[in-house]
């Protein structure tokens, strides 16, 4: 036994274990900070206000979808159709030529309705019929992509001007902050509150973490999953609409492929692969992290193709880490 002033090995070990427990699942924001600091040191232009706000704006488009995908992932399901649904949002809004309030509403409503239908279909297949979520949502992504291509005849979709309110939402600023960034944060706050303050949120975590317990406690698991897929789809459509208003010109395959960035962001934010864990707070950090890393790579002049490789490695790394640090009591996949 060492003297009274020196901590014994036991207490140090216990402290480390407790710190590990605390950090587990909460690594996202510290990592975000770390990356931010590292990038600021390595790349001087990183730290300018303009650049940071740009990161916020860019991350918002991925982030809004990521917030939605988080619901599905907490329920233990994947939603890889969000990219195609982003495309739906983009296309249905712009093809309505939203120059006045009427056409804007038409475009927005049609996008949301179609997205909801896709979400419902996903939810029924995965939540009720218990089909494999990865393969099913890949399939539905393709169906949606195909239908979108049919609808546009695979042409570019371009508008010259849009309803001012829409322009503001996607390209404007409120004070110094870009509006999409604000929308992102608002969506995140509402989502996080929804998860922590509603009964549904609790049921979602239970359905993902311990589906048997949830079932035996009267939770209707199918319903919970369907709602999660609906949320995921609707937010994807919203983000698509924002992107469309920003770029004003769309080319095929529209949003398809976006889902990997979103998935990476969600995983970087500490979402567990098996459900019942994670939070929107983490996802926000993940989206920002992805944005920062992308920005850093851009500033360093790294080729786009190489960036893809890096992002793929990030996804694999995040998944491997999730596996490594998964709490012992979580069921494996």
């Amino acid at each position: 036994m060492s003297g009274p002033s020196a901590p014994s090995i036991q207490t140090v070990r216990r402290f480390a274990a407790e710190l590990g427990d605390l950090m587990r699942g909460r690594m996202a924001w510290p990592m975000l900070l770390l990356i931010g600091v590292a990038l600021s040191i390595l790349l001087p232009p990183f730290l300018s206000l303009n650049n940071l706000l740009g990161i916020l704006r860019q991350s918002s488009f991925v982030g809004i979808v990521a917030v939605g995908m988080s619901f599905a992932m907490i329920a233990g399901c994947f939603d890889l159709s969000v990219g195609a649904i982003v495309g739906v949002g983009e296309v249905l809004l712009l093809t309505a030529h939203p120059t006045d309030i009427g056409s804007t509403l038409l475009g927005v409503c049609s996008a949301l309705v179609v997205a909801a239908l896709v979400g419902l279909a996903n939810g029924l297949a995965v939540g009720w019929l218990r089909a494999n979520s990865v393969v099913t949502t890949i399939g539905s992504a393709f169906v949606v992509l195909g239908l979108t291509l049919i609808y546009t005849n695979a042409q570019n979709v371009t508008v010259v001007s849009i309803y001012p309110a829409l322009e503001f939402m996607s390209a404007g600023r409120l004070g110094v902050l870009p509006v999409p960034g604000i929308l992102f944060l608002v969506a995140a706050i509402i989502a996080q509150l929804g998860l922590s303050r509603t009964r549904y949120g609790r049921e979602l975590y239970a359905a993902g973490g311990n589906p048997e317990t949830a079932e035996l406690s009267g939770v209707r698991i199918a319903k919970v999953r369907i709602i999660a897929y609906l949320i995921s789809a609707l937010l994807a459509a919203v983000s698509g609409m924002l992107i469309a208003c920003r770029v004003l010109s769309l080319n095929p395959p529209y949003g398809y492929g976006f889902e990997f960035d979103v998935l990476t962001a969600v995983m970087l934010g500490g979402m567990g692969l098996t459900g019942g864990r994670g939070s929107v707070v983490g996802t926000v950090a993940g989206a920002l992290m992805l944005g920062m890393i992308g920005n850093g790579m851009n500033l360093s002049g790294i080729a786009y193709e190489l960036q893809l490789v890096v992002k793929g490695a990030l996804l694999v790394g995040a998944v491997a880490l999730d596996e490594r640090f998964r709490p012992a009591w979580q069921s494996g996949q």
Binding site: R199, R202, E203, Y205, T213, A214, L216, S217
Partner: protein
């Protein structure tokens, strides 16, 4: 047989788990060409011994001797390598492959790098025929009956030249003619000098098929007898040890209401239970006793709606419940504290507050928002009432001890003021202090008028706590006792004994 080196033996084998000693100082030998049975009540230690012999567990102390030599059996694969074959209820066959492929898995006959299918089929067929089975070697294992799958497992053991075969409850899912065939197979194995270790609850079988029987009680092997020189009663007495009488401390409030709160009629589920009918009265604690695998958990899960049934009806407070489902039963005031709290009773990743608030009756109120304040105070009250020891309400339940976890799993239901609460092994894996707490909670609930169904493998508990006890055997209710007449010997006899039609009151049967 005497004087031969035992095929396998254990010397001073001890196995400790946190909080319990599963095996104490067991020394036994198993001889070639012998069928050696192991009997004992639930938790007496026989399964633990089998797990150690099959390599699934390692002993805390003591040795395993194979052919006289001390050997370490560290993993199941080791055991297979040493010639130890294990047959358990979860059969380790590959369901999608054929019988022949399963029998010769890992050493398929080859000819110049190609699988020699005719040779594989021939070898498998020969083994099966030798064992007395007529199974098509090309049949897919998943299409076979349990009896046939057992045949395949035994054939596989033989193809690996197993010297020792462990059989854990081999006849539990078999019909009479299949059981006869199994006995024939065992005889054939015996003739080949295989050493067979046979665990069963069916005493009449043991007398038919075994040469010797070892009785386990509370982790120790209390006797090893030759089956020719003993009888059923002696064995039961050895299993039970001291007699436990129903606890004199009976609750004062008698069960005066005779209107049942729960009526179960003719519940049946193929392969699990048949002909189950009983009533539960408010304020009564009804125990369901029986051996592991007799259908206790299956029945209460079916009553709660967690599993579907083939036929039967359930009425709560006189109202029939159609399409029985957990959320419907919960709405009718029924709750279930399941057997496995970690996967069925709790959401391990969530906090105490969240777990306790999970069962949700007042859904429509407050637009689906949680009333955090109300939840917290309710949770605090429960934590105090149940003496849950935890750093705070926000602690994730995964970090709590078994006893405290169980209390949270129970507390979840108390919030809903249930009319009926089912407890399936509520004190399993729980420390002594928490056990006493939990039993007290159950008694208090009964006093408040809640109808309770209580399943426990510990007879002492059942006798202490229950007003009435049903005994199950192979999916049927075979006896009913009230607390005055119940004692451990009667319960054990009924659980082990021959099936008798159930009469109200006591069992009519062997003295």
């Amino acid at each position: 047989m005497l004087g031969q080196t035992p095929a396998i033996s254990v010397v001073k084998l001890t196995k400790r788990f946190p909080g319990v000693v599963a095996l104490k100082d067991v020394t036994l030998e198993f001889r070639p060409g012998e069928v050696h049975a192991l009997v004992g009540q639930n938790g007496a230690g026989k399964s633990t011994l089998v797990k150690i012999l099959s390599g699934a567990l390692e002993p805390s102390e003591g040795q395993i001797l194979l052919g006289g030599k001390p050997t370490r059996v560290a993993t199941p694969v080791d055991a297979v390598g040493f010639g130890i074959a294990t047959m358990t209820q979860e059969m380790n066959l590959v369901p999608t492959l054929s019988v022949a492929e399963n029998v010769l898995i890992g050493h398929l006959a080859q000819r110049r790098g190609r699988v020699d299918w005719p040779a594989v089929r021939k070898a498998a067929r020969e083994l099966l025929v030798e064992l007395g089975f007529d199974i098509d070697p090309d049949a897919r294992v998943e299409n076979l009956s349990v009896a046939q799958r057992q045949g395949v497992e035994i054939a596989r053991a033989l193809s690996r030249r197993a010297k020792i075969v462990l059989m854990d409850e081999p006849t539990s899912a078999l019909a009479a003619p299949e059981i006869e065939k199994l006995f024939g197979t065992v005889a054939k194995l015996r003739a080949r000098d295989t050493s067979i270790i046979y665990i069963s609850h069916k005493l009449e079988e043991i007398f038919r098929v075994a040469d010797r029987v070892s009785v386990f009680r509370e982790g120790e092997c209390v006797a090893t007898l030759e089956t020719g020189k003993t009888d059923r009663d002696a064995i039961v007495r050895l299993m039970v040890g001291r007699e436990l009488r129903s606890d004199a401390e009976r609750r004062k409030k008698a069960v005066c209401e005779r209107v049942p709160i729960l009526e179960v009629a003719n519940l049946a589920s193929k392969g699990k239970f048949q002909d189950v009918s009983f009533q539960l009265y408010p304020g009564e604690i009804l125990g369901i006793e029986g051996l592991v695998g007799s259908g206790r958990t299956e029945i209460v899960r079916a009553v709660f709606g967690a599993d579907p049934v083939d036929s039967g009806s359930i009425r709560v407070a006189g109202k029939p419940i159609g399409n029985v489902r957990p959320d419907r039963m919960i709405a009718s005031g029924v709750g279930l504290v399941p057997e496995d709290r970690r996967t069925q009773g709790l959401v391990l990743g969530m906090s105490i507050v969240d777990n306790v608030s999970l069962v949700d009756l007042a859904r429509r109120r407050s637009f689906g928002l949680r009333e955090i304040g109300v939840e917290r105070s309710a949770a605090q009250k429960l934590v105090d009432a149940l003496s849950v020891r935890a750093p705070s309400l926000a602690t994730p339940v995964a970090t709590l001890s078994g006893g405290n976890q169980q209390k949270v799993a129970i507390g979840k239901w108390l919030r809903t003021s249930p009319r009926i609460l089912i407890f399936d092994e509520p004190t399993r894996g729980v420390d002594i202090a928490a056990k006493a707490d939990i039993l007290r909670i159950i008694k208090d609930l009964a006093e408040q008028g809640v109808g309770i169904i209580f399943i426990s493998s510990e007879q002492a508990e059942v006798l202490t706590v229950c007003d009435r006890i049903l005994v199950l055997r192979e999916g049927r209710i075979v006896a009913e006792f009230n607390h005055k007449e119940a004692n451990s010997e009667l319960l054990t006899q009924a659980a082990f004994g021959r099936s008798r039609p159930r009469l109200s009151g006591t069992e009519v049967g062997a003295p």
